[in-house]
């Protein structure tokens, strides 16, 4: 086997050193009845060529060749091949969590840089590195707010990503944390702050909303923060489309930011691995879960970095830890650091501005079609809920025939919104692709109009 660096003769020699006659004797401590007496029934062994062929065949069964306008928490953005080449250096790829600081300075300094970048983007004072993803970061942020406030009730915006809400529900259930929902305004698509104020009470630990929210609309974070703190609770702001922070004001007024960094240099990869991050105010750092790198010096005064404030963590505090998280998404955080280093201040601003422009161009073209309009009036970044005269599902069936993956139907998430779909347009979409989406949508609407006319009873057709 090519991964095993021993010849049979070397194995024999090692066994002889141990005074053993066979490999089986190594396992003498496993009671006989529990030993597997047959080979595993698993596919393989495969050579490298066969492994590549297998996965290429699977890749061909997916959506290769389609143009997608999906977002909803996973975004396609341009990435430099330089970042991926760096990421595959074995010294980053095949190292462990940097507990041994003297031979992990590369990873530790990069983590420190990641934390700094996250603080700059979010307008917060400290950031960890890292959480599993945006959804679990949001749940952990809520638990953190519970620890800080000493209260238990959570108020969650209905415009928070539905899957984030489900994850929060899972984590809250085991802590007996009641969850209340705050509605969004039907016109603006923003969380209804007056209604929010009405849901707050002295038991409320946190208000959790997302900006841009699941409907693509930016939330009024400063006002939400004021209202929330007015009742003694903490504002948790989730950010699922982190690139927006290149054009949109940082959620500096949030007490805790729970961010998904996928859109900053990670491929969609069918939903993971991504990297979540929690950023917050300095005074809350000891209540924050996850790894932190800190700057320090050695005996000769040389600058170095170490994992710090570990007394929050499970390997020290066991059942009293702030979280059970151990392995996180360090390599993904490193990929984000590399991507942001390449993109830089101007690249980030430009990429975000291109998203603003492309999304507005697409919306303008779509709204030229009869009965098509944006569903909400609140400010948006690169994603918008679009209302159609017919069900989104039916339009999508037509679009798929033209190799376009159209807007995400909102019906399954918000039953009252079957004719609305979530459309995401980024810098990766060319004007030609957007025009093709609009033309295909026009054809779909025309065909669906014909079909519905033909389905009408004869006397109604007159």
């Amino acid at each position: 086997m090519r991964y095993l660096p021993k010849s049979d003769a070397e194995r024999e020699a090692l066994l002889a050193e141990l005074g053993l006659a066979s490999m089986d004797e190594l396992f003498a401590s496993i009671p006989e009845p529990f030993r597997l007496k047959r080979p595993l029934h698993v596919p393989g062994p495969l050579s490298e060529k066969e492994i590549i062929d297998y996965f290429r065949a699977r890749a061909a069964e997916n959506a290769a060749g389609y143009t997608s306008f999906l977002g909803a928490g996973v975004y396609n953005h341009l990435r430099s091949v330089a970042a991926d080449a760096l990421l595959q250096r074995g010294e980053f790829l095949t190292s462990y969590t940097p507990y041994q600081a003297e031979i992990s300075q590369g990873t530790l300094q990069a983590i420190f840089e990641f934390q700094t970048l996250m603080c700059q983007l979010t307008g917060q004072e400290v950031a960890n590195a890292s959480m599993y993803d945006g959804s679990t970061a949001t749940a952990e942020a809520a638990l953190m707010a519970v620890r800080i406030s000493g209260r238990k009730r959570l108020v969650v915006s209905r415009a928070l990503h539905p899957e984030y809400r489900q994850v929060l529900t899972t984590y809250a259930a085991h802590m007996d944390l009641p969850i209340a929902e705050a509605p969004f305004d039907a016109r603006s698509g923003q969380t209804d702050l007056d209604a929010l104020r009405g849901t707050l009470d002295q038991a409320t630990a946190a208000v959790i909303l997302q900006s841009p929210n699941f409907l693509g609309v930016l939330e009024a974070v400063p006002r939400a923060g004021e209202i929330t703190r007015g009742s003694g609770a903490l504002l948790v702001t989730a950010v699922a489309e982190a690139l927006s922070l290149g054009a949109v004001r940082a959620p500096a007024e949030a007490d805790i930011v729970a961010m998904e960094t996928q859109s900053l240099g990670l491929p969609p990869s069918f939903g993971g691995p991504f990297a979540g991050v929690i950023a917050t105010r300095e005074k809350y750092v000891r209540n924050m879960p996850g790894r932190l790198a800190g700057q320090t010096t050695d005996a000769q005064g040389r600058r170095g970095f170490v994992l710090t404030l570990a007394t929050r963590e499970q390997h020290i505090r066991r059942e009293k830890a702030t979280s059970n998280i151990c392995t996180n998404e360090a390599l993904c955080a490193l990929a984000v650091t590399m991507h942001l280093a390449l993109l830089g201040k101007e690249g980030l601003r430009e990429m975000a501005a291109q998203n603003l422009a492309k999304a507005r161009y697409a919306l303008g073209e779509l709204e030229k079609l009869s009965g098509v309009r944006r569903a909400f009036s609140g400010p948006f970044f690169n994603e918008m809920a679009v209302e159609f005269p017919v069900s989104v599902r039916m339009i999508n069936q037509h679009l798929l025939r033209e190799k376009i993956i159209g807007p995400l139907p909102l019906g399954p998430y918000y039953p009252e919104q079957t004719k609305r779909g979530l459309l995401c347009v980024t810098e990766t979409h060319s004007r030609g692709e957007i025009d093709r989406l609009v033309a295909a949508t026009a054809r779909a609407l025309a065909a669906l109009g014909r079909e519905s006319r033909e389905a009408m009873p004869a006397e109604a057709k007159r």
């Binding site: 991964y3 095993l4 660096p5 050193e17 141990l18 401590s29 529990f34 030993r35 080979p39 595993l40 698993v42 596919p43 062994p45 066969e50 996965f55 290429r56 997916n62 341009l78 760096l86 074995g90 010294e91 790829l93 462990y96 940097p98 003297e102 031979i103 990069a110 420190f112 970048l117 400290v126 950031a127 945006g134 959804s135 899972t170 085991h174 054009a247 990869s269 069918f270 320090t296 170490v306 963590e313 390997h315 979280s323 059970n324 998280i325 151990c326 392995t327 390599l331 490193l334 590399m338 830089g344 690249g347 980030l348 501005a353 291109q354 603003l356 422009a357 492309k358 993956i405 957007i434």
Partner: protein, 495 residues
């Protein structure tokens, strides 16, 4: 006098400041294609309340600077690709490069988790194939691939147990955790709403059955046991422990962090385990990447299947689909469908070995026992039961000269090795926890043995040399107390 070293020679390490310290206005490392639609002004599009001009102090550096920056940083790291990385309980084995290649394929890395299911069959078939492999290796009936890491797998597993017990009328109050367990076990049980009760190990480092029988009361939901345990010893009485628990209506949870000692040899499903997780970044070779990403699939017996987190992969009319309508499910663990890219790598590993996975298991156990044999005359071996994939010594002998496990570990760095795991498990004071994995050649093992023996001599003859190690690294031992007392957690621009 320092001992001669076969493995390592010192070489130049290049200094490199922080990214932010190299920034200068106007530099950039990535250019975008020109905008092909009318530009919009951010201020006008978003309004003054929402628009942001720029991110203050964000770095501005060129592509070559970024390449050098991270390449230089990378040379400050030790890695499996450089040599043996014997961290006990971490299973630092070779991470095959083909796994990286296939995870990046167009059609896999490019796929969106919410795209139509009929256009996702390739991804789903990969997931189904991996579920099948894990079911067979563990001898369990069903697998969820959702958990992002071992700790989240533990969380899912304990939540499943809680939901199952609640469904039968009483979720119970306590979870038993041996004193030899990983810190994640008690932290997980607490996160899942249980009171943690620590139970002690016996004189052989194994579960104390008498103690277990005494503690397994009517309000105990489960015992969380690692097998082989953290001392590297197979829990021979595990089936008996399962009987005791089951007799009291409690369940057996197995932490499968050490599956690398068992794959193809014995199956948890065959020795009484109800629910367990595995760490694919350990046994199934997906890279640790400096601390993740990982994946922590959970395997369960049939009667726990209704409680698995959703979505669950199901077959419908000859095609695969997600089922999210699971009334008894513990709920969703994370957005979307698990760390897919990690799962791809794990399947690539499994396919490379096939049934030959057992050879890796054998070599891993062989290597650990070889190291034990070659070092047991110079380092104290507190538990003398047969070792599986790892061996745990203590620093008892070296301590007499004031040298502890951390000192020995730091000195190992000078010899060109990553340290073993220090000071864990907690039941071995001054532990040296060594897990070589199957990925080490005889030559690398012998170099390691030579280094460890040499350090034992140094500890006796020149203890100061060991206590002040490492001597060859860019930085010496860092002031961790100072770092925690006055935390500096981000770069700030000079005033």
């Amino acid at each position: 006098m320092a001992q001669p070293m076969s493995k390592a020679t010192r070489h130049v390490s290049i200094n490199e400041g922080l990214l932010f310290e190299q920034s200068a206005p106007g530099k950039r490392g990535m250019e975008l294609p020109p905008l092909d639609v009318p530009p919009v002004d951010a201020g006008a599009a978003l309004g003054p309340e929402f628009a942001r001009r720029a991110v203050e102090h964000f770095p501005e550096v060129s592509e070559i600077e970024v390449i050098r920056h991270f390449t230089r940083l990378s040379t400050w790291n030790y890695a499996i690709d450089l040599g043996m990385y014997p961290l006990g309980s971490c299973t630092m084995k070779y991470n095959p490069r083909v796994n990286e290649f296939v995870a990046r394929l167009e059609g896999l890395a490019t796929e969106h988790p919410l795209q139509p299911i009929e256009l996702s069959q390739g991804c789903l078939r990969i997931l189904r194939a991996l579920e099948g492999v894990l079911e067979e290796v563990t001898g369990m009936d069903a697998v969820t691939l959702q958990p992002c890491a071992g700790a989240q797998g533990e969380y899912a597993g304990i939540a499943i147990i809680r939901a199952y017990l609640a469904d039968r009328g009483n979720p119970r109050k306590k979870v038993l955790v041996p004193d030899s367990a990983h810190g994640t076990n008690p932290a997980t049980a607490a996160t899942a709403g249980y009171e943690v009760v620590n139970i002690r190990s016996d004189a052989n480092g194994r579960i104390d059955l008498a103690h277990l029988a005494e503690y397994a009361t009517e309000d105990v939901a489960a015992l969380m046991v690692t097998n082989p345990n953290t001392v590297g010893i197979f829990e021979q009485d595990i089936a008996r422990a399962a009987e005791i628990l089951h007799g009291r209506g409690a369940l057996l949870y197995m932490d499968g962090a050490n599956m690398n000692a068992l794959a193809g040899i014995t199956r948890p499903g065959d020795f009484g385990v109800d629910v367990m997780h595995m760490n694919l970044h350990k046994t199934f070779s997906t890279p640790h990447g400096g601390g993740g990403p990982g994946a922590g699939p959970v395997a369960v017996k049939k009667h726990f299947e209704p409680f698995l987190p959703f979505p669950v992969l199901v077959e419908k009319d000859g095609a695969l689909a997600w089922d999210s309508h699971r009334p008894k499910s513990i709920g969703r663990l994370r957005a979307f469908c698990g760390n897919f890219g990690v799962l791809v790598r794990a399947l690539a590993y499994a396919l490379a070995y096939g049934p030959g996975m057992v050879e890796a298991t054998r070599d891993a156990v062989l290597n650990a026992n070889y190291i034990r044999k070659k070092l047991e005359d110079v380092y104290d071996l507190p538990y003398r039961q047969p070792s599986m994939h790892e061996v745990v010594f203590s620093d008892a002998r070296q301590k007499k000269n004031g040298v502890n496990t951390v000192d020995i570990a730091k000195r190992l760095i000078d010899y060109g090795f990553h340290p073993y795991t220090t000071a864990f498990p907690l039941i071995v004071p001054g532990a040296l926890m060594i897990e070589p994995t199957e990925s080490e050649s005889r030559r690398e093992l012998d170099l390691f043995v030579e280094a460890m023996r040499s350090i034992a001599v140094e500890a006796a003859e020149t203890p100061e040399l060991v206590k002040t190690a490492p001597h060859s690294t860019r930085v010496g031992r860092l002031d961790e107390v100072g770092a925690a007392r006055k935390p500096v957690l981000r770069w700030t621009p000079p005033q």
